[in-house]
Symmetry: C2
Subunit: 134 residues, 2 copies
DNA sequence: TTGAATGCAAAGCTTTTGCAATTCA
DNA sequence: TGAATTGCAAAAGCTTTGCATTCAA
Protein backbone atom coordinates (compact mmCIF):
# COMPACT_ATOMS: atom_id res chain seq x y z
CA UNK A 1 0.00 0.00 0.00
CA UNK A 2 1.17 3.45 -0.92
CA UNK A 3 0.15 4.86 2.44
CA UNK A 4 2.67 2.64 4.20
CA UNK A 5 5.43 3.90 1.92
CA UNK A 6 4.39 7.49 2.57
CA UNK A 7 4.36 6.94 6.31
CA UNK A 8 7.75 5.32 6.32
CA UNK A 9 9.21 8.05 4.11
CA UNK A 10 8.11 10.71 6.56
CA UNK A 11 9.54 8.94 9.58
CA UNK A 12 6.31 7.41 10.81
CA UNK A 13 6.12 3.77 11.74
CA UNK A 14 3.89 1.03 10.45
CA UNK A 15 2.66 -0.56 13.62
CA UNK A 16 0.30 -3.49 13.99
CA UNK A 17 -2.28 -1.11 15.47
CA UNK A 18 -2.18 1.12 12.41
CA UNK A 19 -2.48 -1.81 10.08
CA UNK A 20 -5.43 -3.11 12.07
CA UNK A 21 -7.30 0.19 11.88
CA UNK A 22 -6.74 0.35 8.14
CA UNK A 23 -7.99 -3.20 7.73
CA UNK A 24 -11.04 -2.52 9.88
CA UNK A 25 -12.05 0.32 7.59
CA UNK A 26 -11.61 -1.66 4.40
CA UNK A 27 -15.18 -2.87 4.12
CA UNK A 28 -17.33 0.03 5.29
CA UNK A 29 -17.28 3.41 7.08
CA UNK A 30 -17.15 3.04 10.85
CA UNK A 31 -17.13 5.16 13.99
CA UNK A 32 -14.05 5.11 16.23
CA UNK A 33 -15.97 3.05 18.75
CA UNK A 34 -17.00 0.55 16.07
CA UNK A 35 -13.41 0.17 14.91
CA UNK A 36 -12.31 -0.35 18.50
CA UNK A 37 -14.93 -3.03 19.15
CA UNK A 38 -14.39 -4.76 15.84
CA UNK A 39 -10.68 -5.05 16.57
CA UNK A 40 -11.32 -6.19 20.10
CA UNK A 41 -13.58 -8.88 18.67
CA UNK A 42 -10.67 -10.02 16.52
CA UNK A 43 -8.50 -10.04 19.66
CA UNK A 44 -6.44 -7.10 18.45
CA UNK A 45 -5.02 -5.23 21.41
CA UNK A 46 -5.56 -1.51 20.89
CA UNK A 47 -6.67 1.43 22.98
CA UNK A 48 -9.51 3.74 21.92
CA UNK A 49 -7.12 6.69 22.15
CA UNK A 50 -4.80 4.97 19.69
CA UNK A 51 -7.70 4.41 17.34
CA UNK A 52 -8.38 8.14 17.38
CA UNK A 53 -4.73 9.01 16.96
CA UNK A 54 -4.40 6.62 14.06
CA UNK A 55 -7.49 8.03 12.37
CA UNK A 56 -6.11 11.53 12.80
CA UNK A 57 -2.86 10.44 11.14
CA UNK A 58 -4.64 8.77 8.24
CA UNK A 59 -6.68 11.93 7.68
CA UNK A 60 -3.49 13.98 7.66
CA UNK A 61 -2.13 11.65 5.01
CA UNK A 62 -5.29 11.93 2.97
CA UNK A 63 -6.17 8.25 2.96
CA UNK A 64 -9.38 8.49 4.96
CA UNK A 65 -11.95 11.19 5.60
CA UNK A 66 -14.60 12.00 8.15
CA UNK A 67 -18.27 11.50 7.33
CA UNK A 68 -21.03 13.40 9.12
CA UNK A 69 -24.49 11.90 9.04
CA UNK A 70 -27.59 12.74 11.04
CA UNK A 71 -25.99 12.49 14.44
CA UNK A 72 -22.95 14.03 16.08
CA UNK A 73 -20.78 10.95 15.75
CA UNK A 74 -17.94 10.97 13.28
CA UNK A 75 -17.56 8.12 10.86
CA UNK A 76 -14.39 7.38 8.93
CA UNK A 77 -14.09 6.16 5.37
CA UNK A 78 -11.19 5.22 3.13
CA UNK A 79 -10.78 7.65 0.26
CA UNK A 80 -10.72 6.25 -3.25
CA UNK A 81 -10.11 9.10 -5.67
CA UNK A 82 -11.49 7.09 -8.60
CA UNK A 83 -14.76 6.55 -6.83
CA UNK A 84 -16.66 9.66 -5.81
CA UNK A 85 -19.89 8.50 -4.26
CA UNK A 86 -22.52 9.32 -1.68
CA UNK A 87 -24.31 7.24 0.91
CA UNK A 88 -27.67 5.64 1.46
CA UNK A 89 -27.98 5.30 5.21
CA UNK A 90 -30.65 2.97 6.54
CA UNK A 91 -32.36 4.50 9.57
CA UNK A 92 -33.57 1.03 10.53
CA UNK A 93 -30.41 -1.09 10.63
CA UNK A 94 -27.72 1.54 10.18
CA UNK A 95 -26.26 -0.03 7.07
CA UNK A 96 -24.40 2.25 4.68
CA UNK A 97 -24.64 1.72 0.94
CA UNK A 98 -22.58 3.65 -1.59
CA UNK A 99 -24.12 5.34 -4.59
CA UNK A 100 -22.59 7.31 -7.44
CA UNK A 101 -24.69 10.01 -9.05
CA UNK A 102 -24.35 11.23 -12.58
CA UNK A 103 -26.20 14.51 -12.10
CA UNK A 104 -23.72 15.84 -9.66
CA UNK A 105 -21.75 18.29 -11.73
CA UNK A 106 -24.90 20.01 -12.88
CA UNK A 107 -25.59 20.87 -9.28
CA UNK A 108 -22.34 22.70 -8.86
CA UNK A 109 -23.01 24.54 -12.08
CA UNK A 110 -26.44 25.54 -10.87
CA UNK A 111 -24.93 27.02 -7.74
CA UNK A 112 -22.34 28.87 -9.75
CA UNK A 113 -25.12 30.49 -11.70
CA UNK A 114 -27.24 31.33 -8.70
CA UNK A 115 -24.64 32.59 -6.25
CA UNK A 116 -21.16 34.04 -5.97
CA UNK A 117 -20.26 31.27 -3.57
CA UNK A 118 -17.18 29.25 -4.52
CA UNK A 119 -17.94 25.60 -3.81
CA UNK A 120 -14.96 23.55 -2.67
CA UNK A 121 -16.64 20.53 -1.13
CA UNK A 122 -20.09 19.18 -0.69
CA UNK A 123 -21.81 16.51 1.31
CA UNK A 124 -24.82 14.63 0.08
CA UNK A 125 -26.32 11.82 2.10
CA UNK A 126 -29.62 10.03 1.84
CA UNK A 127 -31.57 8.56 4.73
CA UNK A 128 -34.31 6.01 4.47
CA UNK A 129 -35.01 2.28 4.41
CA UNK A 130 -32.71 -0.20 2.74
CA UNK A 131 -33.90 -3.09 0.64
CA UNK A 132 -33.53 -5.63 3.42
CA UNK A 133 -35.47 -3.60 5.96
CA UNK A 134 -38.43 -2.76 3.74
CA UNK B 1 -47.68 32.05 15.78
CA UNK B 2 -49.22 28.65 15.29
CA UNK B 3 -46.55 26.95 17.38
CA UNK B 4 -47.67 28.87 20.45
CA UNK B 5 -51.25 27.75 19.95
CA UNK B 6 -50.10 24.18 19.54
CA UNK B 7 -48.02 24.33 22.68
CA UNK B 8 -50.83 25.80 24.74
CA UNK B 9 -53.32 23.26 23.38
CA UNK B 10 -51.13 20.42 24.54
CA UNK B 11 -50.64 21.82 28.01
CA UNK B 12 -47.21 23.34 27.41
CA UNK B 13 -46.49 26.87 28.48
CA UNK B 14 -45.26 29.82 26.52
CA UNK B 15 -42.43 31.15 28.62
CA UNK B 16 -40.20 34.10 27.92
CA UNK B 17 -37.29 31.68 27.48
CA UNK B 18 -39.10 29.76 24.77
CA UNK B 19 -40.06 32.93 22.97
CA UNK B 20 -36.46 34.13 23.13
CA UNK B 21 -35.06 30.94 21.63
CA UNK B 22 -37.58 31.11 18.81
CA UNK B 23 -36.67 34.72 18.15
CA UNK B 24 -32.94 33.96 18.21
CA UNK B 25 -33.40 31.37 15.47
CA UNK B 26 -35.46 33.63 13.25
CA UNK B 27 -32.60 34.99 11.20
CA UNK B 28 -30.20 32.09 10.74
CA UNK B 29 -29.36 28.55 11.91
CA UNK B 30 -27.41 28.54 15.16
CA UNK B 31 -25.78 26.13 17.58
CA UNK B 32 -27.15 25.86 21.12
CA UNK B 33 -24.13 27.75 22.38
CA UNK B 34 -24.67 30.52 19.83
CA UNK B 35 -28.29 30.89 20.85
CA UNK B 36 -27.25 31.03 24.49
CA UNK B 37 -24.64 33.72 23.87
CA UNK B 38 -26.86 35.72 21.56
CA UNK B 39 -29.56 35.83 24.21
CA UNK B 40 -27.08 36.65 26.92
CA UNK B 41 -25.90 39.55 24.76
CA UNK B 42 -29.49 40.75 24.66
CA UNK B 43 -29.61 40.40 28.46
CA UNK B 44 -32.06 37.54 28.27
CA UNK B 45 -31.68 35.37 31.34
CA UNK B 46 -31.59 31.75 30.27
CA UNK B 47 -29.59 28.66 31.10
CA UNK B 48 -27.83 26.55 28.45
CA UNK B 49 -29.78 23.51 29.66
CA UNK B 50 -33.02 25.36 29.03
CA UNK B 51 -31.86 26.23 25.55
CA UNK B 52 -31.34 22.54 24.86
CA UNK B 53 -34.66 21.58 26.41
CA UNK B 54 -36.46 24.21 24.39
CA UNK B 55 -34.81 23.08 21.17
CA UNK B 56 -35.83 19.51 21.93
CA UNK B 57 -39.41 20.64 22.42
CA UNK B 58 -39.46 22.63 19.20
CA UNK B 59 -38.12 19.63 17.31
CA UNK B 60 -40.86 17.48 18.82
CA UNK B 61 -43.39 20.00 17.58
CA UNK B 62 -41.82 20.03 14.13
CA UNK B 63 -41.02 23.73 14.00
CA UNK B 64 -37.26 23.42 13.91
CA UNK B 65 -34.81 20.76 12.79
CA UNK B 66 -31.22 19.80 13.40
CA UNK B 67 -28.57 20.50 10.78
CA UNK B 68 -25.33 18.54 10.60
CA UNK B 69 -22.42 20.15 8.80
CA UNK B 70 -18.77 19.18 8.69
CA UNK B 71 -18.27 19.05 12.41
CA UNK B 72 -19.97 17.28 15.28
CA UNK B 73 -21.88 20.31 16.46
CA UNK B 74 -25.62 20.43 15.97
CA UNK B 75 -27.17 23.49 14.44
CA UNK B 76 -30.87 24.31 14.63
CA UNK B 77 -33.02 25.86 11.94
CA UNK B 78 -36.64 26.90 11.73
CA UNK B 79 -38.61 24.74 9.31
CA UNK B 80 -40.51 26.48 6.56
CA UNK B 81 -42.41 23.87 4.59
CA UNK B 82 -42.77 26.19 1.60
CA UNK B 83 -39.04 26.69 1.37
CA UNK B 84 -36.97 23.59 0.86
CA UNK B 85 -33.38 24.69 0.54
CA UNK B 86 -29.79 23.72 1.18
CA UNK B 87 -26.83 25.59 2.60
CA UNK B 88 -23.66 27.24 1.40
CA UNK B 89 -21.36 27.21 4.40
CA UNK B 90 -18.33 29.47 4.30
CA UNK B 91 -15.32 27.71 5.76
CA UNK B 92 -13.67 31.09 6.26
CA UNK B 93 -16.22 33.11 8.25
CA UNK B 94 -18.79 30.44 9.08
CA UNK B 95 -21.65 32.27 7.40
CA UNK B 96 -24.58 30.18 6.20
CA UNK B 97 -26.38 31.08 3.00
CA UNK B 98 -29.55 29.35 1.79
CA UNK B 99 -29.90 28.03 -1.70
CA UNK B 100 -32.78 26.30 -3.47
CA UNK B 101 -31.93 23.87 -6.22
CA UNK B 102 -34.18 23.05 -9.10
CA UNK B 103 -32.46 19.81 -10.05
CA UNK B 104 -33.25 18.16 -6.81
CA UNK B 105 -36.11 15.87 -7.73
CA UNK B 106 -34.10 14.37 -10.53
CA UNK B 107 -31.62 13.21 -7.96
CA UNK B 108 -34.15 11.23 -6.01
CA UNK B 109 -35.40 9.74 -9.23
CA UNK B 110 -31.90 8.70 -10.17
CA UNK B 111 -31.52 6.88 -6.89
CA UNK B 112 -34.86 5.18 -7.33
CA UNK B 113 -33.61 3.84 -10.61
CA UNK B 114 -30.23 2.76 -9.32
CA UNK B 115 -31.15 1.18 -6.01
CA UNK B 116 -33.98 -0.42 -4.06
CA UNK B 117 -33.33 2.05 -1.25
CA UNK B 118 -36.40 4.04 -0.18
CA UNK B 119 -35.25 7.63 0.36
CA UNK B 120 -37.07 9.46 3.12
CA UNK B 121 -34.74 12.36 3.80
CA UNK B 122 -31.55 13.74 2.42
CA UNK B 123 -28.98 16.27 3.40
CA UNK B 124 -27.06 18.32 0.90
CA UNK B 125 -24.63 20.97 2.03
CA UNK B 126 -21.94 22.89 0.23
CA UNK B 127 -18.71 24.13 1.74
CA UNK B 128 -16.45 26.78 0.30
CA UNK B 129 -15.80 30.50 0.24
CA UNK B 130 -18.57 33.06 0.34
CA UNK B 131 -18.61 36.20 -1.78
CA UNK B 132 -17.35 38.43 1.02
CA UNK B 133 -14.40 36.21 1.88
CA UNK B 134 -13.14 35.69 -1.64
C1' DT C 1 -52.87 26.68 43.61
C1' DT C 2 -50.38 23.25 41.12
C1' DG C 3 -48.25 21.04 37.56
C1' DA C 4 -44.94 22.70 34.13
C1' DA C 5 -40.55 24.88 33.40
C1' DT C 6 -36.29 26.75 34.99
C1' DG C 7 -31.57 27.12 36.99
C1' DC C 8 -27.89 24.91 38.89
C1' DA C 9 -24.91 21.19 39.36
C1' DA C 10 -23.67 16.76 38.25
C1' DA C 11 -23.27 13.19 34.98
C1' DG C 12 -22.86 11.15 30.22
C1' DC C 13 -20.75 10.58 25.69
C1' DT C 14 -17.47 11.29 22.28
C1' DT C 15 -12.97 12.94 21.50
C1' DT C 16 -8.42 14.85 22.92
C1' DT C 17 -4.27 15.22 25.68
C1' DG C 18 -0.26 14.37 29.10
C1' DC C 19 2.96 11.28 30.45
C1' DA C 20 5.47 7.21 31.64
C1' DA C 21 6.37 2.78 29.57
C1' DT C 22 7.14 0.31 25.38
C1' DT C 23 8.56 -0.65 20.77
C1' DC C 24 10.25 -0.31 16.27
C1' DA C 25 13.98 1.12 13.06
C1' DT D 1 20.01 3.63 21.42
C1' DG D 2 16.60 7.06 20.74
C1' DA D 3 12.71 8.86 18.80
C1' DA D 4 8.07 7.37 17.70
C1' DT D 5 4.05 5.11 19.48
C1' DT D 6 1.21 3.13 22.81
C1' DG D 7 -1.79 2.50 26.98
C1' DC D 8 -3.77 4.44 30.75
C1' DA D 9 -5.95 8.02 33.05
C1' DA D 10 -7.44 12.45 33.20
C1' DA D 11 -9.52 16.30 30.91
C1' DA D 12 -12.17 18.70 27.51
C1' DG D 13 -16.28 19.87 24.71
C1' DC D 14 -21.06 19.20 23.75
C1' DT D 15 -25.41 17.50 25.51
C1' DT D 16 -28.53 15.40 28.90
C1' DT D 17 -30.49 14.65 33.44
C1' DG D 18 -31.95 15.08 38.57
C1' DC D 19 -33.81 17.91 41.74
C1' DA D 20 -35.25 21.83 44.41
C1' DT D 21 -37.17 26.29 43.27
C1' DT D 22 -39.92 29.32 40.50
C1' DC D 23 -43.58 30.56 37.51
C1' DA D 24 -47.45 30.53 34.12
C1' DA D 25 -52.21 29.49 33.70
Amino acid sequence: MKIYQDLRNKGFRITSQRESVMKALSSSPLTAEEIYKKLKGDSVDIDLASVYRTLELFIKFGVIKELFFNDSIKRYEIIDHNDHHHHLICTECGSIEDIALSLEKKFIKEIKNKSKFKVEKHSLEFFGICRKCQ
